[in-house]
């Protein structure tokens, strides 16, 4: 038990990485700076903009999560930085050849970008319990001026 807690504290102090069951409980502990802009995924189904108020918390998470994850996967070039760190780490401990062995398992299939919109439409339809004839997802950036949310920019992302 003592060993477990020692490892837990070490991971906690390391902070940048976890290893289940050693996780951090430091959420919302960083000192937040005033955000310049707020990014939001706006999902419009059959011409109607979906609103968080109309869904349970978990349901809304499942509407938003895939978009956030896919956005992250795309922007990070399929998590290239993490894989590079792994490669250099393995190289550092003299197990560089292991990386070439594992590398194919670390990558998502290249077809993800192409398949994602269709997959999301199917999943979303199941989630909101209605057929989707038209789906549009925009990535919007807002600024809050203490009175209004001012739209700074809106990029169309998925349009099916």
């Amino acid at each position: 038990m003592i060993g477990f807690f020692i490892i837990q504290v070490l991971f906690d102090l390391g902070h940048s990485v976890t290893a289940l069951p050693f996780v951090h409980y430091g959420m919302f502990s960083e000192s937040f700076a005033s955000p310049d802009s707020l990014a939001v995924f706006e999902v419009t189904v059959n011409g109607r903009l979906l609103d968080a108020h109309d869904f349970s918390i978990d349901h809304w998470d499942m509407i938003q999560n895939p978009l956030g994850a896919f956005d992250r996967q795309t922007r990070s070039r399929d998590f290239a930085f993490d894989k590079e760190r792994l490669q250099s780490g393995l190289h550092f401990i003299g197990a560089g050849s292991l990386y070439s062995l594992l590398a194919p398992n670390l990558d998502n299939t290249p077809a993800v970008a192409e398949r994602f919109p269709g997959w999301y439409k199917t999943y979303l339809s199941r989630l909101i319990r209605q057929p989707i004839h038209a789906l549009r997802v925009d990535k919007a950036w807002y600024r809050y001026d203490r009175v209004h949310f001012i739209l700074l920019k809106k990029d169309p992302w998925i349009n099916l």
């Binding site: 290893a19 978990d58 299939t109």
Partner: protein, 668 residues
Amino acid sequence: MSYTRDKKITLIVYFLFYYALFASFYLDDRLLSQYQPIFFTHNRDLTELILIATGLPRWMMAHPWTFTAADTLAFGLPAALLAYALRKGRFSPVLGIAFGLFLSGYLLLADLFWQVHHEPFVLYLLLALAWMTNREERFYQVLKGCRYYFLYIFTSAALWKIARGAVFNGQEMSRILLFHHSDLLSGPCDSFARRTYRYLVDHPGLSYGLYLGGAALEGCFVVGFFTRRWDRVLIGLTVVFVVADLLLMRIPYWTILLGTITLWLGSGPVLSGSSLPFRRPLPPREKKIIIYETTHHENLPALLDLSEAHFSEVAVFLKELSYHNLSGYGSPERRWPRTDFFVQPEDCSNRRFISQLFAFLKRHRYSHLHLSTLDNNLLVFVFRLTGAGTVHLSLTVHEVNEYFTFSFRSLRDWSESIAKFFLHRQIRHYTLFLPAMVDRFRQKLPEATAVFIPSRFYPGQHPSGPAQSPFIIVIPGSVEPNRRNYNEVIQTLTLFLSRNNPPVELVILGDSRTEAGAAIIASLQALECGRLRLRHFKGYIPETVYEQELAGAHLIWSPLNLHKIGSRNNPETYGLTTASGLTADLLLNDIPALVPEGFVIPEPFRAAVLPYGSPETALEIIERLIRDPAGYQAIRGNIRQAFAWFSKENFMDAFMELTNSDPPRNQP
């Protein structure tokens, strides 16, 4: 019985939460078979990275039926585990291990595919360890570990908020709300929730107050590391936290409530001082006491007599040597028939034995723990006592100065000083062997309860009286020049032999194997002649022999050095800060004792004490006792009369104060 009950409660609560969790996954289309992922993410978790490296996520995506198989196992495997446990009344370790591994794998996959955050689910993994064992001790170890982990969740969350400076940022909560609810706040609907969040965003002072309140609430859990007394309160705080998190942050953290089971089980009743509205009285625990002793077995008899009179169950954990020498006449079981003795075998380490003691205490829900001697492993005891829950603690202090001295000369000093800092706060009830020691102790720790209880009670009857001649003088105790002044003995005996006195026998009733001891014996042997016969011992003297020798004495001589160096090199004064074994020895018989002047001893003992200031006065006393048999018998009669005060009944009140007890029902 409590194990069976605790196991059942844990099992039911755990799987209610588990199935509620997976039912919520199903309702929100989060089961893997419902989600049917087509890509995975890297989340900077090493275990996840290993899983990705095995190729399993890619393979599962290429074979979607595996998601259905995983979900089937998620519902079926615990069902099999439950069915086995309910049918057989025990766990299948194989199923338990399979379940634990499977749940870990499922959670990792869920995070890879749809970003389930692991934080609220780690306790589900740790508590699952309880299904892998049928050993009571391990079950409670798992519960205890999970309780600490649950406390750690909140405490570390509070610490991070302090360490990373968030609690010092007056805009913190306003910005968190703005960031966290951006999709809600920027949406078209103008609901009550949206207006509330906007209000809090626009009023940073108010939202910052809520943030500080949250951090303070999390910080409160640190108390659980030191005591179980507030566990019920912490359960209430957990509920407050979950509700606040839901309302303010829209984070449904209800799954973490599973951890409250670790606070509930074994936390005992809330103290009467609590003013919480939800306080619910528990049925009173049976009064059961465990006494821990190392080598000072001579101090146990009174405690055992009182414990048997007060408690429904008495258990003594002691060393083999102490057990065999606890009673000079008959076995300990015969003398204390209602007491269970747990003997530490020679091949069992102290720490292991202590660990067994605390496991026993928890398993059988003992209400009291008395440490009759605490001379080693202090830090171990601090840790163990911290997790011992609401057990009433008490301690016999042998050396007052030592108990309050903080020293940092060696690693042991450091550890013992740190331990003493905590012990002074953990233990509030003390017993000491002399009233003067009690007074001194109260000066040092006035807020604690300190009582005088002697080592043993006066039996009133003696197995056999001393022979008429020769006159036998017994000097009890190990032959150590630090403790006793043997030069005075030699000088007195030299004077005694120089005069026309009848023969005497001198018994050195202590281990004289040491170099210093051998030198003292040699000096005494040099005096041996027709009128002085010397007997001495080498090695440990069995209690039977020890008590027989004392019973055969005409006079006990305790040539104490009143100021001695204690066990950890602290100065101690006999009679004031530490007690000599003489007080225990005196109560065995009605024999007078020769002691140096200045030895502080309370009134009832004084009938037996003959103080001397020099070898000459010691000689006078001895000669008077030998030449005046009638006077000698009168002294012994007085001793018997005075010692009658050392009865169990006269120390009931002190013992009740020590154990914080009500009078026994048969007492007036």
